[in-house]
Amino acid sequence: MSDITLDRTTFVGSPPPPVAQRARSVVPGFGLTLGLTLLWLSLVVLIPLAALFLKTAELSPDRIFAILTAPRTLNALKISFGLSLAAASINLVLGGIIVWVLVRYDFPGRRVLDALIDIPFALPTAVAGIALTTLYAENGWIGALLAPLGVKVAFTPLGILIALIFIGLPFVVRTVQPVLEDLDHDLEEAAATLGAGRWTTVRRVIAPAVLPAFLTGFALAFARAVGEYGSVIFIAGNLPNVSEIAPLLIVIRLEEFRYADATAIAATMLVASFLLLFVVNGLQRWSRSRTGRLA
């Protein structure tokens, strides 16, 4: 996300003004906007998060440890994080190809395809879940074709993966698209005139420029998949230890009126997601510093 602010500041010109010099900024309003930002972030993000951790703190450390190491919790976390990583990785590759085709080639129907990408954003997740389940159930259009091959999709972890791919796709495409569009053709031509082969151009010129955007897209798709509930519960089968995602386990704990247990799992997911996103952010920074680019 920091890349956006960097873009803005480069717009204004010269290096970003250090905080101490803010009084001399050419644009007014720093105090007011920062105040609003803090207030709004507190109301919308920080206070609910604090409540989550406070509720978890009602439990003794032993109890938290017992909850988190229960096989069912571990399995649910494994399923949620494992499948989310897998789905985000698949989206990274296939989303990358899609975005390349959309940006670099002109063909009839391109704008329609482009618009289709946003559907997973717009569709209520429950609708997506029901639609996917209908298609992939053994009596559905696709499920009926796969059944003779012995492939079961709906009500298995494979079904969860498909739902997570579906909801994550636009994140990769929409993050990489503007960066790729802005990438100057001149650079590639310059590379060619300097004698670089086509692969070298892809590897040394294009890849370093779009890599940070790909990482952001991956991180967003992953974060969304970890928290996804609506579309998954329809297609998952929801068997404990097999196809029960962590968000469902949280809901089940709530329905047993065990709020603190639910928040313990939720807080764990949050911390784990945060750490993973932190790593991705670090990778981004690393790839940027290595190439010296502000993608």
Binding site: P71, R72, A126, V127, I130, T133, T134, A137, E138, N139, G140, A144, A154, F155, I233, G237, N238, L239, P240, N241, E244, L248, V251, I252, L254, E255, E256, F257, R258, D261
Partner: protein, 343 residues
């Protein structure tokens, strides 16, 4: 497997299913057109019953008091609905799937602990039981609980942790196994084996019905009797058969006024009247029309052809010892149900 279906019925069931998810959120406060507004927070399969009953009550109430009344109903998994009320959903009356969920609300001070004694028949104006819904012609030859654990049989039932109906399913299986095999150890084995035959564990009763009827998954659906009748009615007699096991459980979905909420809203008298009407001849008839077993002996006699005779155990049977004990033994953390899935 593919079956002929009626598009209308299919669409209706889908709509109901989606509505089930949206209902608790969609209850925005409406314009105050009526003199009294009541909110009935109910469980999954009572949609059709209360849609009709609300009309009946509105007419009766207008005739008796001259006041107009608007009744809203919210449906969802029984446990989830109880939690919504605990978290502040302004229910005047709750009509849930099992007493334990209302106990949970009472435990937080919303109504008196002895709520179940305030109305006749354990505060359950209608009852139901658990039956099997099988594919037409019963291709797997399922006749009783034993057959569910046979090789190659797939059973559809929701997760008892989240679904009230599923708890009745589970307890009915337990009661049968206890009686047939004679020991708790054996009963645990049988129920464990039964759940190993479950390929999809939905979170609510309607979800399971959709999995079985729409997706064509499984050979037998453990269902509320009223839900089984409803599926047959919706999809036509040519797709499913109902099989009544030798022994089942007397499911008593209880009703109660939420004291704390009605005191604040001043709706106590209307809420009382609403629940009382469920016990009247008219209310009982409506329940029977919607495939709930009526309590009133006269009405029950009129409908005795509809409801097959079954050997029914109750939750207060020594085998269970009431809801609180049953909940503790079977469905609490580390209870028998968790043990089934922990190895």
């Amino acid at each position: 497997m593919s079956f002929p279906f009626k598009p209308v019925a299919k669409a209706a069931l889908f709509a109901a299913f989606v509505a089930a998810l949206a209902a608790p959120i969609a209850l925005a406060p409406a314009a105050r057109a009526a003199d009294v507004t009541l909110l009935n927070v109910s469980y999954d399969p009572t949609r059709e019953l209360y849609a009709q009953f609300n009309k009946l009550f509105a007419a009766r109430y207008k005739a008796d008091t001259g006041k107009s009344v608007e009744i809203k109903t919210s449906h969802g998994g029984s446990g989830k609905q109880a939690r919504s009320v605990i978290d502040g959903l302004d229910a005047d009356v709750v009509t849930l799937a099992l007493a334990y969920d209302i106990d949970a609300i009472a435990d937080r001070g919303f109504l008196a602990q002895d709520w179940q004694k305030r109305l006749p028949d354990n505060a359950s104006p209608y009852t139901s039981t658990i039956v099997f819904l099988v594919r037409k012609g019963n291709p797997k030859g399922i006749k009783d609980w034993d057959d569910l654990a046979k090789p190659g049989v797939q059973v559809i039932t929701p997760n008892p942790k989240t679904s009230g109906g599923a708890r009745w399913n589970y307890l009915a299986a337990w009661a049968y196994a206890l009686k047939t095999y004679g020991s708790e150890e054996k009963a645990k084995e049988f129920v464990g084996e039964l759940y190993r035959h479950v390929p999809v564990l939905d979170t609510g009763a309607r979800g399971s019905t959709v999995t079985f009827t729409e997706r064509g998954v499984g050979d037998v659906l453990l269902a509320w009797e009223n839900e089984a009748f409803l599926s047959k009615k919706e999809f036509g007699d040519d797709r499913f058969d109902i099989v009544v096991p030798s022994l089942s459980i007397l499911a008593e979905p209880p009703v109660a006024v939420v004291d704390k909420n009605v005191a604040r809203k001043g709706t106590g008298e209307a809420a009382e009247a609403y629940l009382k009407l469920l016990y009247s001849k008219e209310g009982q008839k409506l329940a029977a029309e919607n495939f709930y077993r009526p309590r009133d002996p006269d009405v029950a006699k009129d409908y005795e052809k509809v409801f097959p005779k079954v050997d029914l155990v109750t939750i207060d049977d020594p085998a269970f010892g009431g809801w609180r004990k049953a909940q503790q033994t079977h469905f609490a953390d580390g209870g028998v149900f968790d043990q089934i899935y922990s190895n």
